[in-house]
Amino acid sequence: MHDHDHDDNHLDPMSARVRALETILTEKGLVESAALDAIIETVETRIGPRNGAGVVARAWAEPDYADWLERDAPAAIADMGHTGRQGEHIRALFNTPQTHNMVVCTLCSCYPWPVLGLPPVWYKSPPYRARAVRDPRGVLAEFGVTLPDATQIRVWDSTAEIRYLVVPMRPAGTDGLDQAALAALVTRNSMIGTGLALEPGR
């Protein structure tokens, strides 16, 4: 998985295909290269799991915000400045000692872009999509996560336009931390449900 520098006459086949399509569509006036650049800049800089981590940290720190997030996640998330494509109808799922939530899209790659960015390769891959619904404990073990037997797992298959954000449990020993320090404990996987929030100092 690496990206060699190529001169234009020696593009690898995929790069050549994409270059050809962009050239054709640009010549037809159907796309603007500057618009493509702006789209890429948006997904690289405006969306990503740091957005979701800020939402989770605020929900941990402010009970009223957690209530709002549970009742009306799109509005509560928009209050943090995160809106848009693939976040139009978002719902927050709160983990508890009794219930662990885990999100999948068995039919494609639906994912809450404004709060988590683009999905990682494994989330889109057949192994995860096949097994998340059938053997979630086995999948969690592959991520190094073992839950108590008494914890019930709930899997959420994103089969329509509702998107799901898992709010992991707040780790112990975090009472004195501010929201920025809390957000640093919130991993991408903990908001998909294939991980837990990090413990402070580890």
Binding site: P120, V133, V155, W156, T159
Partner: protein
């Protein structure tokens, strides 16, 4: 459709392999392929549901082995050809041979931020009262269309309980085929593992299902 995309509950794909500190892109062409997909949606020829259907209609062996953005790119080429914006000759030549149909609707750079921020909400006013309520027991129908559907095979003809009423939403099964939005009530359904897999253990699984997928249990 009973296509390669319908992966829930399938066996034999091996363990989930995650890449530590995974980069956003794995090749320089990937961001370009994603951006072309988003930018051409603005032309208004197709819906997101039609895009999903174009991807799941790709040959199964390709779908199951290709890199994800190759699936996107290959489906995009097919959509552009279907809607008259591209010909195989042009793809082979790498240059336009005829004018575009809808250059007037292209996405200008200055409208990218607003377009992405607006997204594409799918909730619509309901045209009829909801048939089901929270706590109702329902059974999913035995629907096996060759067209687009979002009822996964593992959750077909299964009993579950309504745990959410999401309002009326654009019906993907219609919208993917140019048949309009046809909004239908959308519900969250919870299934017990023994009802899905025939044995206890495992986890409760939720899907979101439109009313035409459901009948009273």
């Amino acid at each position: 459709m009973n296509g390669p995309q319908d992966l829930g509950g399938r066996a034999g794909f091996g363990p989930v392999v995650s890449e530590p500190d995974e980069p956003l892109w794995h090749a320089g062409w990937e961001p370009r392929a994603l951006a072309l997909t988003i930018a051409t949606a603005a032309l208004g020829h197709w819906t997101l549901d039609e895009v999903r259907h174009a991807r799941e209609k790709l040959p199964p062996a390709f779908y199951l082995s290709a890199r994800y953005y190759d699936i996107w790119l290959t489906a995009l080429e097919a959509l552009l050809i279907r809607h008259g914006e591209l010909t195989p000759d042009e793809l082979a030549a790498g240059h336009a041979r005829q004018p575009g149909l809808r250059p007037d609707r292209h996405l200008p750079a200055e409208r990218v931020a607003a377009t992405l921020a607006r997204g594409g909400p799918t909730e619509r006013p309901a045209r009829a009262p909801a048939r089901f309520a929270l706590g109702d027991r329902v059974r999913t129908r035995n629907l096996q269309p060759e067209t687009h559907t979002r009822l996964p095979g593992y959750a077909r003809e299964k009993q579950g309980v309504i745990v959410a009423v999401h309002g009326a939403h654009v019906f993907a099964d219609s919208h993917a085929h140019g048949l309009g939005e046809n909004p239908q009530w959308l519900y969250g359904i919870r299934f017990e593992p023994e009802d899905l897999w025939g044995e206890p253990g495992g986890a409760q699984v939720h899907i979101d299902a439109w009313e035409p997928y459901l009948e009273p249990a």
